[in-house]
């Protein structure tokens, strides 16, 4: 495996980690104003991700930094091309992060309600837009011979990409619901399970449509053949199996299954992309690949050493946080947020 492939894999891993972790954060944020019927319940819900959301979000920042370092043209084309979509996502993430910290620091109901909805939209918008963005990556967007996106904003809102967006939105919401069944106490976990049961239907529908659409509406079937292979199949099957675990209160399994679904769906996207990083719909020769978009061999080597040293350490201490805060949040828990 050459370093270009390694870095493609590493960025895929960063996105997988990001969607696995931040996926349930988004889901918790989306469910928060509905699942929590009063202020205490809402605080409990926010506190389930209180100690971890910031660390989870760094996966995205790191993925962005890794793209910049390893594939500068990918970084340049993607973020200048999907400009307005990214602005919306950044605005959402900015207000969302502040909302977690600020929400419970004032007693006025108006203050808290406002931040509750900021948390909702700040989570729902990125959850939707990530699906839209990834779907457009594999579907292909108008990229010219100078690696510049020439499509405009509304070009991104095609049916396939919107299905991708709804798939990520519903899948993350479900993932958040199964997370909450494990993290909440005092009866709220039961309500979370009911919500999970409901969201399961659209999540299955949109994920299935997305996987099917990936074969139907992109060039994937020409490149990889009609047999979808193990990865997308697992993504869909895990979600199907979730129906049974949710109904039977196997909450640990439900979370594992939604996690598998998120992880394998993300891997599917990167398999469909490889070895390209952005597909040009104008001319296949204008697609960005792990070679023409890459940094120099020297930079890739330096970054490989750095990542090899640091990533394991990060994984250890981040896992430690989850261990420290493994207990459920109950009405008796001291709520910091």
């Amino acid at each position: 495996m050459d370093l270009n492939t390694l870095w493609f894999a590493l960025i895929a891993v960063l996105f997988v980690g990001f969607f696995f972790l931040e996926g349930f954060d988004y889901g918790v944020g989306i469910l928060h104003p509905f699942l929590g019927k009063n202020d205490t319940e809402r605080r409990m819900i926010v506190n389930t991700i209180g100690p971890v959301w910031d660390g989870n979000e760094v996966w995205m920042i790191t993925a962005g930094g890794a793209m910049f370092a390893a594939f500068p043209h990918w970084y340049a084309t993607l973020f200048s091309g999907f400009y307005l979509a990214l602005v919306l996502m950044l605005l959402a993430l900015i207000v969302r992060g502040v909302a977690f910290e600020f929400r419970s620091k004032m007693d006025e109901p108006g203050w808290r309600t406002t931040w509750d909805w900021v948390i909702f939209f700040g989570s729902a918008i990125p959850a939707l837009l990530w699906g839209v963005a990834l779907a457009n990556l594999i579907r292909g967007v108008p990229i010219d011979g100078n690696m510049n996106y020439v499509g405009g904003f509304f070009n991104l809102l095609n049916p396939y990409a919107l299905i991708g967006g709804l798939a990520s939105l519903t899948l993350f919401t479900l993932h958040g619901a199964t997370f909450l069944t494990l993290k909440l106490g005092g009866g709220l976990e039961d309500r979370a399970r009911v919500y999970a049961g409901v969201i399961w239907y659209p999540a299955v529908l949109f994920l299935f449509l997305f996987v099917a659409g990936t074969y139907w509406m992109t060039d994937v079937h020409e490149r990889l053949g009609l047999d979808p292979g193990v990865v997308p199949t697992v993504a869909v099957l895990a979600l199907f199996a979730g129906r049974w675990t949710i109904s039977n209160r196997r909450d640990g399994w439900s979370f594992i299954l939604t996690a598998i679904s998120v992880v394998f769906a993300t891997v599917t996207v990167f398999i469909a992309l490889f070895p390209r990083v952005m597909v040009s719909s104008l001319d296949p020769d204008w697609s960005l690949t792990i070679y023409n978009a890459a940094s120099s061999p020297y930079t890739l080597k330096v970054m490989s050493i750095v990542a090899g040293l640091l990533v394991p350490v990060v994984l250890v201490y981040q896992a430690w946080t989850y261990w420290i805060f493994r207990k459920r949040i109950t009405p008796e828990t001291h709520l910091h947020y």
Partner: protein, 457 residues
């Protein structure tokens, strides 16, 4: 409006805004870590109260710094894609390392610190805030490694139509990093010192409850501020000398020095005509600029007109003069604010050494309002160092006008510029409301402090 101007304006607004929160995070993290360490070592409850009181304000500020930092990671690609293509091979690396080495550290451990008061042991909890402080300051180091490359490109070779890294250690060993990072760090120390001393002064004026907390905070605050200001000035002096060597044009602009002089006079006040490149009115001290540049009262400091001629020979026809008025005044605002800070902090330290805390109400009021001074100095300093580098985005390698994204239109940048500015404005209001509430509320009495961890309401 021109897309380059809009993109620059957006970068300036989002970055200056981001840097409103960063220095306090950098400096206060260390101070809170010191408070908590003393508490753990001595068991002195007053230090625990100080940890919690300042820790709460720290967290409100920290959140703002984190979220506004997200934009920074992406806007090189968004608005400066030609820059990203040309420099990405070098510039992306420090950003990625910053994320891996620093962002994870501070973001993961800040969560443990907020939520972990009753979950991990006291010494471990103190270690955690040190990790946050270290993470934040390492983050500053790596972003300054990146910025230093823009000021003084090193460790690269021009190949394949772009700048490619050929020596990673040259980036880290860039002399510019080692004058810029200390300057930023000590400015951050000064910022936190003034923040702590200023809010304490307000409580001393009001004779708030738990006065001991604020007396002690004030004394430590002015000491910290004095250390920060003095070292920031000393390092700033070496930074200016370094700048005179690597970017003489920036120094000439900072001084509105049109013609080369030896010995060079320093301007105290100049009204200039930027178009014709001449003074309209100026008060100048003979020899002082040479002294600042070389530590002696002679020595040639090159002027704008000579440098412009030189640069045209080296880089081809073009205008290589940065906006002189902005450079001149932001430099003076920074230095002036620094001097005022030095006077206030030194007076406070001197009084505190003799009497415990100052009682002069005018001085205490001044110290409260002086919280603004480091913010003014920090912002002016960054505007100066970035505007003074123009027309270059990377000195000598790429011009700002060539770096902008070609695929992003005026309308799009206009939209994002307005959207970011509005949202940032609203958040600033919320931030100030909360800071006022918690800074003004003072320290709860003993029982409440024992029961309520930081972050709780």
């Amino acid at each position: 409006m021109d897309v380059v101007i809009l993109a620059r304006l957006q970068f300036a607004i989002t970055t200056v805004y981001h840097f409103f929160f960063v220095p306090l995070t950098l400096g206060l993290a260390v101070l809170v870590a010191i408070f908590e360490t003393i508490y753990v070592k001595t068991g002195d409850e007053t230090y625990k109260k100080m940890t919690k009181f300042w820790g709460k304000l720290f967290l409100i500020n920290f959140a703002m710094g984190v979220v506004t930092g997200i934009v920074q990671e992406f806007q090189f690609g968004m608005n400066w894609s030609e820059y990203s293509r040309f420099m990405g091979d070098i510039f992306g690396a420090p950003l990625a390392i910053e994320a891996l080495l620093a962002f994870y550290l501070e973001s993961v451990f800040i969560g443990i610190w907020i939520f972990g008061w009753d979950k991990i042991s006291k010494p471990l909890h103190a270690v955690v805030i040190w990790l946050v402080a270290i993470g934040s300051n390492i983050s500053a180091l790596w972003i300054l490694v990146a910025n230093s490359f823009m000021q003084k490109p090193v460790g690269y070779v021009l190949r394949n139509g772009r700048a490619e890294m050929d020596n990673f250690f040259a980036l880290l060993g860039n002399g510019h990093v080692w004058v810029q990072w200390p300057h930023v760090f000590f400015s951050a120390v000064a910022t936190a010192g003034f923040f702590v001393a200023g809010i304490s002064a307000w409580h001393l004026l009001r004779q708030s409850d738990q006065l001991e907390v604020f007396k002690r905070s004030f004394r430590i605050g002015v000491l910290y501020a004095t250390i920060g200001v003095v070292l920031s000035m000393l390092v700033g002096h070496s930074q200016a000398q370094y700048m005179t060597r690597i970017q003489p044009m920036k120094m000439a602009a900072a001084e509105a020095l049109w013609e080369t002089e030896d010995p060079a006079a320093m301007s105290l006040f100049t009204i200039g005509n930027e178009k014709e490149r001449r003074d309209v009115f100026a008060i100048r001290v003979p020899g002082l600029l040479s002294f600042l540049a070389f530590n002696r009262f002679s020595g040639e400091v090159r002027g704008i007109n000579d440098l412009q001629r030189e640069y045209q020979i080296t880089y081809g026809p073009g205008d290589y003069v940065p906006p002189v008025a902005i450079s001149y005044w932001t430099f003076r605002i920074m230095v002036g604010a620094g001097m005022a800070m030095f006077a206030l902090a030194a007076f406070g330290l001197w009084t505190a050494a003799r009497k415990g805390v100052p009682e002069n109400s005018l001085y205490l009021k001044l110290m409260f309002w002086a919280i603004a001074l480091p913010y003014i100095a920090n912002s002016a300093g960054w505007i100066f160092t970035e505007v003074g580098r123009q027309p270059w985005i990377v000195f000598g390698l790429q011009k700002t006008a060539d770096a902008v994204s070609t695929s992003v239109g005026v309308g799009e940048v206009m939209f994002s510029l307005i959207a970011f500015t509005l949202v940032y404005g609203v958040l600033m209001v919320a931030d100030v409301v909360l800071l006022r509430k918690f800074a003004g509320a003072g320290v709860p009495d003993d029982d409440a402090t024992a029961a309520a961890p930081v972050g709780a309401v």
